[in-house]
C-alpha cells in the first residue's frame, strides 16, 4: 500500500477525485432551511440525510411526489384480477368439481381470495417497489467513508452536494453551506486506485460460488424431469404404501413350492365347511338322487315345505332363472326372446310341459342341475346358497303343478267360478 492510502484511512477519505461536500447541521429545522437555500441556488444533485423523516424537507428540496402509489394500485389491481382468473381457471375450467350442486363460478364465494391476493400483490409491490425506486440495497456509498456520517442514523443531520452538479464549485458551494448554518463541511473523495474501487475478489467469488450452488437443486430437478430412472421414487413419508407382507399368489422363496399362498393341509376341513349332510348339500340319498327334500337345515331347523319357502323360492327364481326360463317356466325368458329378435333360434329348457325331463327328474337331480349346471346352463352354486336352491326346487315343482293343473286340482267349492 502506498503512503497516500495511510493518509486517506486516517480521515476515512479516498485520494481520488472529489465526490462532493457533506455539511452537518445541528437541528432538523436548520437542515430544512439549508435544503431550501441549496435548492433555491439551483442545485439539483444534492440530498439530505437524517435519522428520521424530517417534516417539510420534501418541499424544501423540491422533491417530486413519488409515483409509487400508482404502481402499488396497479399491483393490487393485477392481484385482484389474477385472483379471479386463478379461481376461474381452477374451479370453473380445469377442474369443475360439483359441490352440493353449487355453481362452479360464483363471485361472492370467490371474493375473499381475490381480495387477499389484491392486498398481497399491493403489499409486495409497495415493499419491493420502494426499495427498487430507492436503488437499495446498495451497501456502499462514498459518504460512508466519512466518520462523521456514521451519526446520520443517530443524531446527525447532513446535506450532501455532489461535485457532478452543474453549479458545483468547491469554494462557492462550501461557502453556501457555511452560510446556511452548517456546523461542519467535509469534502468527500473517491478512490483513485482502480483496484480499490472494485469489489474485493473474494466477495465476487463468494457470490458466484453461492449462486452456482443454489442452482444445483434446480439442475437436479430439471435432469429428473427429462430422464428415466428404474429406481422407485423416494418416499419421505411412505404412508404404509410398503409393508413387509406377502399378498395372495405372489412368489416367495421360503417354501419349497415358491408360493406365498399356503394350501389346505391334507385331511383337514375348515370350520363350517364339512358339508356332511349329503341330501342338503348334494341332493343325494344313499348315493341316488333324492326324490324328497332334506330333513333339516345344517343348523338343525326342520326343513318344511310351506308357503314361506315357496315365496322365497319364487323370489329367487324370478331373479336368477327367469332371464332364460321365463316367469312361467316355459323357456320364453328375455334371453331366448332377444335371440329370436336377432334372427337366431335358441330355446331354454321348458321346465313345466308334461314331456319335459325336468318334470320327471328327481328333486336331488334338479338341485344338482341348479348347483352345477347342465349343457349350456352354468352352475349357480356361487350365486345361490344351498337353502335357496332347495327353495327354488320347491317352487319349480309348484310351477309344474300349476302349469299342468286340471279342474280336479281346484277346490270343489271354487270350480263353478272358473267353469
Amino acid at each position: 500500500m502506498s503512503t497516500s492510502d495511510e493518509t486517506t484511512t486516517s480521515n476515512g477519505n479516498g485520494d481520488g477525485e472529489l465526490y462532493g461536500l457533506l455539511a452537518e447541521f445541528d437541528t432538523p429545522g436548520e437542515l430544512v432551511t439549508a435544503a431550501r437555500k441549496v435548492h433555491d441556488a439551483g442545485y439539483t444533485e444534492f440530498d439530505c440525510f437524517s435519522p428520521f423523516p424530517v417534516h417539510g424537507i420534501d418541499t424544501a428540496m423540491g422533491v417530486k411526489r413519488t409515483i409509487l402509489p400508482l404502481v402499488i394500485f396497479g399491483g393490487g389491481f393485477v392481484g385482484a384480477l389474477s385472483g379471479l382468473a386463478l379461481q376461474y381457471y381452477c374451479n370453473a375450467f380445469a377442474w369443475t368439481w360439483n359441490i352440493s350442486g353449487k355453481p362452479t363460478w360464483s363471485i361472492p364465494a370467490n371474493i375473499p381470495i381475490a381480495y387477499e391476493l389484491a392486498i398481497l400483490l399491493a403489499v409486495l409491490t409497495s415493499f419491493f417497489g420502494m426499495w427498487a425506486a430507492n436503488k437499495l440495497p446498495q451497501v456502499w456509498h462514498p459518504f460512508f467513508r466519512l466518520e462523521r456520517f456514521g451519526r446520520v442514523t443517530d443524531d446527525g443531520f447532513f446535506l450532501g452536494i455532489q461535485a457532478g452538479d452543474q453549479r458545483f464549485d468547491a469554494d462557492k458551494t462550501k461557502q453556501l453551506l457555511v452560510d446556511a448554518g452548517a456546523i461542519a463541511v467535509d469534502p468527500c473523495y473517491l478512490e483513485a486506485d482502480p483496484v480499490r474501487k472494485q469489489m474485493p475478489k473474494w466477495i465476487t467469488g463468494f457470490i458466484v460460488a453461492s449462486t452456482a450452488f443454489a442452482l444445483i437443486p434446480f439442475a437436479i430437478a430439471a435432469k429428473a424431469r427429462n430422464s428415466h430412472s428404474s429406481e422407485p421414487h423416494i418416499h419421505i413419508f411412505p404412508d404404509m404404501d410398503f409393508q413387509p407382507k406377502y399378498k395372495s399368489d405372489t412368489a416367495m422363496d421360503m417354501f419349497s413350492d415358491d408360493r406365498a399362498n399356503r394350501g389346505e393341509i391334507a385331511g383337514t376341513v375348515a370350520r363350517g365347511w364339512l358339508e356332511e349332510d349329503d341330501t342338503f348339500y348334494r341332493g343325494l340319498d344313499n348315493g341316488a338322487w333324492t326324490t324328497g327334500f332334506p330333513k333339516q337345515y345344517p343348523d338343525g331347523t326342520p326343513f318344511v315345505v310351506d308357503d314361506k319357502l315357496l315365496k322365497r323360492g319364487q323370489q329367487r327364481f324370478n331373479i336368477y332363472c327367469t332371464p332364460c326360463h321365463g316367469y312361467d317356466g316355459h323357456g320364453q325368458g328375455m334371453v331366448p326372446t332377444r335371440v329370436a329378435a336377432g334372427g337366431g333360434n335358441w330355446q331354454a329348457r321348458n321346465l313345466v310341459e308334461p314331456q319335459s325331463v325336468v318334470v320327471t327328474m328327481p328333486n336331488g337331480q334338479l338341485f344338482n342341475t341348479i348347483s352345477n349346471g347342465f349343457n349350456t346352463m352354468l352352475g349357480y352354486a356361487a350365486q345361490i346358497p344351498h337353502a335357496d336352491r332347495w327353495a327354488i326346487v320347491a317352487y319349480v315343482r309348484a310351477l309344474q303343478r300349476a302349469q299342468n293343473a286340471t279342474l280336479d286340482d281346484v277346490p270343489a267349492d271354487k270350480r263353478s267360478a272358473i267353469q
Binding site: N11, A23, F25, D26, T27, P28, G29, E30, L31, T33, A35, R36, D47, C48, F52, P53, V54, H55, I57, A60, V63, T66, L68, P69, I72, L86, Q87, C90, N91, W95, A109, N110, P112, I113, Y115, E116, L117, I119, L120, V123, S126, F127, M130, Q138, V139, W140, F143, G150, V152, T153, D154, D155, G156, V178, I183, A184, V185, D186, P187, F237
Partner: protein, 465 residues
C-alpha cells in the same frame, strides 16, 4: 480534511442530545454485555416449553392425531381453538402499527415494533395448528394451487378453509414485510454503532440487513409513502383475516357457529386479546430493560382504554348472541346457549368468558388500576385465559352438543394437546425474548420523529404539513 468544523465551532444543541439519548437507551438493550438474569430464566423456561412442544409434535406427526383428544363429535378442539386464539393475538400488533398509524396516534411509536414482532410470532404459532390438524402436514402443499400430475386437481376455492389459507399467508407475509421495513433504519443505527465500536462482524451482519440505508431524504420520501400505504393495506387486511377465520364457523349449520355476528365479534375479541398479550409481554420487559421513559405509563393507560373499549364490544356481542338465541325462537339455538352457561362446560363460560371478557374490562374504569402495573398484568392474564376460553366455548362446546343427542360427547384434552399448546407458547416467548435482546425493540427513528425535538431549530417547520 475538514476545516469548517474548526472555523465554526458549534456546541451540539439540546435536540441532538435528546435524539442521542433515544438511540443510547434503545441500543443498550442489545448492547448490554450481560442480559438480565430474569431474562435468562424466562428464556430457559420458554425453551423447555418449546422442547416439550417439539416432542409432542414429533409424537403427533409420527402416530397421527389420534393422540389428541379430538373425536368424531368434537372434531375441532384445542387445535383450532389455539389457531383462532393465536391469530387474534397477532391482530393487536397490526392494529397498533397500522390502524393507530393511520389515525395519527403518536403514542404507538413506543410499542409498535414489539407489537409487530409479537404479531409475527403469534401468526407463526397460529399457522402451526391447522397444519398439524391436517394429520399429514407434508401434504399441506396441496392447499397451494400448483400444477400437478394428479389429473389436474385444484384446490376448492369456494371453501372458507381455503380463504383461511390465503388470508393467513397474506397476513404473515404483510406482517413480516411491514416489520422488516420498519426495522431497516434502526438496523442501520445498529450498523453504525457497531462500526464505531469496532465490532466488525456485527457491523457487517447489520449492514447487510439494513440494505445500505443512509437516511437520505429522497429515500425517506418514498419510504414514508410506502409505509403509509402498507398501513392502509394492513388495516383492511387485519379486519379481513379474522372475519375469514370466523367464516370457518359462520358458514356452517351448527348452532353456536351459524351466526352473522361473527366477523365483527371475532375482530373485536382479537384486538382485545392481542392488547392483553402486548401488555403481558411489555409490562415486565420495560422494567427489565429500563424502558419506562420510552414505553410510558400513559401508553399503558392508552392500551387499557383500548382493552376496555374492545372488551365491552365483546361483552355486547355475548349479549347479542343470547338475545338472538331467545328472539329467534329456534330451540337448537336456545339450547346451545343454555348449554354454554349450564351444560357440562359451564365453568368455561363463567370463569373464562364471563369473568375474563365481560367483568375484567370494567376494572379499567379505575384510574388507580390503570396506574398499577401488577394489577393490570394480572387482569391481562385473565383476559388471555378468557379469550382462549371464548374460542373453546364457541368451537369445542358447540360441537359437543350438536343437533342429535346421540352425537353428544364430552371433550377432554390429552397430554399431547397440552404439549403442543404449551410448546407454541414456549416458541412464542422464546422468539420474543430473543427479539427483545438482539433487535431494535423500539422504533428509534419513529420515536425521534414523534418527539418534540423533531421540530427544533427552524421557524419554517410549523408552517408545513
Amino acid at each position: 480534511m475538514s476545516t469548517a468544523a474548526a472555523e465554526h465551532p458549534h456546541e451540539p444543541g439540546k435536540a441532538r442530545e435528546a435524539f442521542r439519548a433515544i438511540t443510547r437507551d434503545v441500543s443498550w438493550v442489545a448492547e448490554a454485555p450481560k442480559p438480565h438474569k430474569l431474562w435468562l430464566v424466562a428464556l430457559a423456561i420458554s425453551v423447555l416449553a418449546f422442547g416439550w412442544g417439539i416432542y409432542s409434535i414429533y409424537i403427533l406427526v409420527t402416530r397421527g392425531i389420534g393422540v389428541w383428544g379430538n373425536s368424531n363429535t368434537v372434531a375441532w378442539a384445542w387445535d383450532i381453538t389455539n389457531f383462532v386464539w393465536w391469530i387474534g393475538i397477532g391482530h393487536a400488533g397490526t392494529l397498533i402499527s397500522a390502524v393507530l398509524y393511520l389515525t395519527r396516534q403518536t403514542w404507538r411509536v413506543s410499542i409498535n415494533r414489539a407489537a409487530e414482532a409479537m404479531t409475527i410470532f403469534a401468526v407463526m404459532a397460529a399457522g402451526l395448528f391447522p397444519l398439524l390438524h391436517t394429520g399429514r402436514p407434508w401434504f399441506a402443499w396441496w392447499m397451494i394451487p400448483l400444477p400437478n400430475d394428479m389429473g389436474s386437481i385444484w384446490p376448492q376455492f369456494r371453501s372458507p378453509l381455503m380463504w383461511d389459507v390465503f388470508a393467513v399467508t397474506t397476513y404473515l407475509t404483510t406482517s413480516v414485510l411491514f416489520w422488516y421495513m420498519g426495522l431497516v433504519p434502526d438496523l442501520a443505527t445498529f450498523r453504525d454503532r457497531c462500526a464505531a465500536q469496532g465490532k466488525t462482524v456485527k457491523a457487517i451482519i447489520y449492514g447487510v440487513l439494513s440494505l445500505g440505508w443512509r437516511g437520505s431524504a429522497r429515500h425517506w420520501h418514498r419510504y414514508e409513502r410506502a409505509y403509509l400505504i402498507l398501513a392502509g393495506l394492513a388495516t383492511p387486511l387485519v379486519f379481513s383475516v379474522h372475519s375469514v377465520v370466523s367464516f370457518d364457523f359462520a358458514t356452517s349449520q351448527l348452532p353456536g357457529w351459524h351466526t352473522t355476528i361473527f366477523p365483527p365479534y371475532f375482530v373485536a375479541g382479537a384486538i382485545y386479546s392481542g392488547f392483553a398479550m402486548v401488555m403481558t409481554l411489555l409490562i415486565p420487559l420495560r422494567y427489565l430493560f429500563n424502558l419506562q421513559h420510552i414505553i410510558k405509563q400513559e401508553h399503558i393507560r392508552a392500551m387499557c382504554r383500548v382493552m376496555m373499549g374492545t372488551g365491552m364490544m365483546v361483552t355486547f356481542a355475548y349479549f347479542t348472541e343470547f338475545f338472538i338465541a331467545w328472539y329467534s325462537g329456534n330451540p337448537f339455538e336456545q339450547f346451545t346457549f343454555l348449554n354454554r352457561c349450564f351444560g357440562p362446560f359451564w365453568w368455561v363460560w363463567w370463569f373464562m368468558m364471563f369473568w375474563g371478557n365481560a367483568c375484567v374490562p370494567q376494572f379499567f374504569w379505575s384510574k388507580w388500576i390503570k396506574n398499577n402495573n401488577v394489577v393490570i398484568w394480572i387482569l391481562c392474564i385473565f383476559v388471555n385465559i378468557g379469550m382462549w376460553g371464548e374460542r373453546f366455548a364457541i368451537i369445542g362446546v358447540s360441537l359437543s352438543r350438536s343437533f342429535l343427542p346421540s352425537n353428544w360427547s364430552y371433550y377432554s384434552p390429552t397430554r399431547y394437546d397440552v404439549g403442543v399448546f404449551v410448546g407454541t407458547i414456549g416458541m412464542f416467548l422464546m422468539l420474543f425474548l430473543l427479539f427483545f435482546r438482539y433487535a431494535p425493540v423500539i422504533a428509534m427513528s419513529e420515536v425521534k420523529g414523534a418527539s418534540p425535538e423533531a421540530h427544533a431549530g427552524g421557524p419554517s417547520i410549523g408552517g408545513h404539513h
